[in-house]
Symmetry: C2
DNA sequence: CTTGACTCCCAAAACGTTTTGGATGATCCT
DNA sequence: AGGATCATCCAAAACGTTTTGGGAGTCAAG
């Protein structure tokens, strides 16, 4: 309610002393420290955030950019992630601001606005591209950041990601072991790292099995994108008997396509992300998910360490992918 | 990159003139204005946000508190809402910070921290209670805010809400018209306004139909809460033949209870919120949703008007509820 | 009595803006 | 010529902190 000056005046002390008393410095006597603290409490004093920020040259803020394209908004538990992340950051005196990207503006411009206007001390990036200009920009500015998802940047940066390659490799092998030979892949836009690496996982498993990796269709990372991509694969002369889909949303679109197609209920399918609604589709959607608890907290602590100056190499977390065993992947391999 | 002083020095002008040139004041000649603008562009100058905030005595920030209890995180499209809201606010130079509530701290304390530390110019509140201490606090401080959901506060405040009373009244009537007589209600915690008003809607429709409104069970606003509440109702000597549920999550819990109970597939059900996954349950979940597009944008513009000083009475939006016609409400009324 | 160490306090600078209240000439009117 | 008006510019204050670099005073040791 009041400011430091008024508080100091009412106590007959200097601004300096009051400030230092509240910050717990040892060069103010225990007695006055107590006296100051009491008065501050009673007055409901809170330091003015803007003033402190100006003086300390820190924004006490971290921004996370939210891509506005539908289907690009990241993992399903994104809000939980944000919430956990914000909570952890708050413990370190940082607040999380969300930076949506308006139509017509690029994510890069948003980063620029936040960073060059010194509005933030650090940034969080989601849905990284293989070649990500936001990453390059932040690196050029030397501002700490952590990405959710890797990139192909030549200079290392902190990230947290799931091992999509291994996950999709294993899922493809699982189908192969079950007897499938025509295993298709519904891929996301290949400029995204996650989409690319998932496709590589599928492809590598196909190669190792000596199977041709020709049943691949790419689409937008949405229900509709998955639907269209699935239709494309189902029009092929020799249909797939199993589909490995880049995301659950795409998998749900693929399920819709399968329902519309004769014999579609004979085709196995698996997605990725473990969207809650996957448990309710029919058949319920088998899927994969990143292991490790509370992505948000993890994300936040990586960021805090990055701010503290730890080198990027020590701030890279690659988590295993676990299979979520439901019904949609158990169709007979011979049919279709 | 640079600051005003350096910019001024390099141009041989005063700080004042540079500042005013950039802000487009008319007391600097068109020629110098242009010259300054070019130099600023080339230097990539952005005013330091903290300094501006301190001087202008505005935080340029708005906070929204996120309750951390599971199932309390508000509407399903909450993230979309936040995103739309943040985007709209950004147009007015305001950024949106999310303020999660850590365990052991109350939402009120969070509000206090943000408001008294002058970290924000305004606040957004979600999941209001009938008697909401956050609302009282913000009113006492005179800081602008908008709630998502009404309260019973004696002094009016800006809000945006769906007409839950009418929605649940209509849904109950719909069951009555279809021949149901034993229509139950699965209620959310009654301290929440939305939960209370939805219950009142059901009750009033029952009263009008001359039916006894005794089949009501209250639970946490989660899947599990709905499950438990449904079991409670199904244990009654005379079971309900239809259930009106406070939220979709609770309705999905109720569906689970029905699956476990003999004859449960004969009981009609309807939820509220239009969660995306409701389309995939079996039976697909009939539900309700608030009309009006982009809640977030709406929310933001109400807030901007509140900041501009419009009286609260003109900033209250009550939106109609529309029925989402799927399968779960079409079970025969006679069974069970 | 001096010296040094120690405790407790403070004045002033600095952070980078925005805004107030002129100052300086030039131009125009009478 | 004298005054008024206008177009440009600027010095300095202010916003509320944190931090630097001491300044008194006390006390114990030399």
């Amino acid at each position: 309610m009041a400011n430091l000056k008024q508080l100091a005046q009412s106590l007959g002390l200097s601004i300096t002393t009051v400030s230092r008393a509240l910050d717990g410095y040892s060069d103010v006597s225990a007695a006055t420290r107590e006296r100051v603290r009491e008065a501050a409490d009673k007055a409901g004093y809170r330091p003015n955030a803007s003033a402190r920020r100006l003086r300390r040259q820190r924004a006490e803020l971290v921004a996370v950019t939210l891509p506005s394209d539908p289907g690009h908004i990241g993992p399903p538990h994104f809000l939980d992630m944000l919430s956990g992340c914000a909570e952890h950051l708050a413990g370190a005196g940082l607040n999380l601001v969300i930076a949506p990207v308006p139509r017509g503006e690029s994510e890069l411009e948003i980063c620029r606005r936040f960073v060059d206007g010194r509005r933030v001390d650090a940034m969080l990036l989601v849905r990284t591209k293989r070649h990500d200009e936001r990453v390059e920009f932040l690196q050029s500015r030397g501002i700490p950041f952590v990405t959710n998802g890797r990139t192909e940047s030549p200079v290392p940066h902190p990230y947290i990601d799931g091992d999509g390659f291994a996950g999709f490799h294993a899922a493809t092998q699982r189908f192969r072991t079950a007897g499938h030979r025509r295993i298709g892949h519904i891929a996301g836009p290949q400029e995204y790292y996650f989409a690319h690496v998932r496709r590589m996982g599928w492809q590598s498993a196909m190669d190792e099995a000596g199977l041709e990796a020709d049943l691949c269709a790419e689409g937008a990372p949405t229900e509709q994108g998955g639907y269209l991509a699935a239709l494309e694969l189902l029009r092929q002369p020799s249909r797939p008997t199993a589909l490995v889909c880049a995301t659950d949303e795409m998998a749900m679109g693929a399920l819709r396509a399968l329902r519309e197609i004769d014999g579609g209920n004979q085709i196995s399918i698996v997605g990725h992300d473990d969207l809650p609604m996957g448990a309710y589709t029919s058949p319920s959607l088998s899927t994969m998910r990143m292991t490790g608890e509370n992505l948000g907290t993890n994300f936040a602590s990586l960021l805090l360490r990055a701010i503290a100056g730890e080198p990027a190499e020590e701030l890279q977390e690659l988590h295993a992918i676990e299979f979520v065993d439901r019904d949609s992947h158990r169709r007979p391999p011979a049919a279709a």
